[in-house]
Symmetry: C2
Subunit: 322 residues, 2 copies
């Protein structure tokens, strides 16, 4: 494969970052600051921004203002604003805002243990839930065209995930959607716990494409073990043209107390990579770096982005000659 | 090209890190702690450790103990311990320790502005200095077999560096060594200011290899803009089997006040990448992660390594379902 001429970035920083910051504490980042970041991101050329999560306000107080964010953001024409939801309560809340791009999406998880811990559902229950969600979408006149596989490359509880298991889950997503009267068009492979490596990316993308050549494949990559940008490059080499990314690497934090939290691959670093290798993103890099700077400001600590701290000035230590 | 079966890591963390930490202040990390880290690194399976820099103690007080480190480290048989030096004063100090692997090495810089600022030498002066160093090695019975190009992929002052310029510098290195009665065997391309990208790595490595197929090529990559691990992967794809890396990403620091300082690509992340894609390093990953933990302890702040903070336990936020 050759590089795609152009890729789409789905900016997930607001959702990933706001949800994670101050976890277990009362809401930390003010709603106006969240709204401001989303509005700034929309000015960079990004066409898709995931800004909220419809999760239990009791369990995740940081996202208790999901509806308020949706109502406050001044939407820019041509930009898709979205949210996530993992069950029917969430999807109903999202629909009720009337503010979100509700592209029908269902999600299966490659690890039953992770599914039980994260969604409190067995694999069988999860399958049934996705059928229910598909029907719910249909009742609202929305076709389910997006599928996603969580923990697609491995799981901290269950270890590596085989390519065969991934293929079986794609099959399941296709079955659920077609039985629900829809046709799956896009498949996101989510490296939820950072188990992917560049060769695994190439192998799994290749295997899926061989069997379902018309399915558009996207990648959602966490930088847990430092390989995310290499995984993006491997994705590019396989022609993957859709990536979830997080401005400044939001959702991750290198500090003690937050250790082990790794965000998604950093948006501005993906844009920089693309710029260097001649892949179009449509995103203004300096404007995106300004967003990253603002994100760091409102979270109140350094974020993982390296590019954010680089500049065109020389930053080397002074003369090292003896 | 296919991946190399086995690569060599040259651990530069002690030298890069100790030199940078507390820059402009009196010596921050104690000599025994530096010695301990070097000794721990030698136990991981690493066969090459760059531990000191022979630079002006006045300009770089953090490295004033270079001789003391050389004298204190209990050397492990089979491991090469080295240092760096950019002029004849430095090389004489290094030789005088009698403790270092003094493989003859000369270095040219692709950017004259950077050379003037970093080494206070013009391109012409630098060329003459490398001739002088070659002669100095010869006087000490050492053949110059290693060459290095600094700022090989771009410079903060002068911008991109062309492949033609890199090829001309390789030519110069070959001329200086052959005129000095040696034969260049290894060429390091140093991305001193983080300008490389995976395609540029592949292009330059390919161009050099095409012209000088017998020259072993190595990469010294800084993570200034977040692409270092993708650049390593690109190097692997071109069959490059020699990398300078820094444990924990020493030399870099994500904190305010140190912003813009980016270390070399992180040793344990390179070892992890290799492990995943089936390239042998001979390094024990858990032992190396312990070294990274100790490095973080002695510098007293978080270092760039992501892998250091990852573990096999699940680190995801608690249940996110509504």
């Amino acid at each position: 494969m050759s590089f795609p001429a152009k890729i789409t970035l789905n900016e997930v920083g607001p959702r990933e970052g706001f949800q994670f910051e101050g976890i277990g504490q009362p809401q930390k980042i003010s709603t106006p600051d969240k709204v401001r970041l989303v509005e700034m991101l929309a000015e960079t050329g990004l066409k898709s921004i995931q800004m909220v999560s419809f999760v239990s306000p009791k369990q995740v107080p940081q996202m208790a203002d999901a509806e308020e964010i949706c109502n406050s953001v001044k939407q820019k024409p041509g930009v898709k604003y979205s949210g996530i939801y993992l069950n029917d309560t969430g999807i109903k809340r999202a629909l009720a805002t009337g503010k979100l791009s509700m592209t029908g999406k269902i999600t299966l998880t490659a690890s039953e243990t992770f599914s039980l811990r994260n969604q409190r559902r067995s694999t069988a229950d999860d399958y049934a839930m996705q059928q229910k969600i598909t029907a719910l979408y249909k009742d609202n006149g929305i076709e389910v065209v997006n599928g996603s596989i969580m923990a697609a490359f491995g799981c901290n509880y269950e270890g590596p995930v085989s390519t065969a298991r991934v293929l079986a889950l794609v099959e399941n997503l296709l079955t659920i959607t077609s039985e629900g009267g829809s046709k799956l068009r896009t498949l996101m492979l989510a490296d939820t716990m950072g188990w992917a490596d560049p060769e695994l990316i190439r192998r799994n993308v290749g295997a899926i494409r061989e069997r379902w050549p018309d399915l558009r494949i996207g990648l959602h990559l966490h930088d847990t073990r430092g390989l995310a940008i290499a995984n993006v490059y491997a994705g590019m080499q396989e022609g993957v043209d859709l990536y979830d990314t997080a401005v400044a690497g939001l959702g991750g934090c290198p500090f003690a107390g937050h250790k082990g939290a790794a965000g998604n691959v950093c948006s501005e670093e993906v844009v920089f990579l693309c710029q260097q290798i001649g892949v179009e993103t449509g995103v203004d890099l300096p404007a995106l770096v300004e967003c990253a700077r603002f994100a760091e400001h409102i979270v109140g600590h350094a974020l993982p982005s390296k590019l954010l701290n680089a500049s065109l000035e020389c930053r080397m230590p002074a003369a090292t000659a003896a």
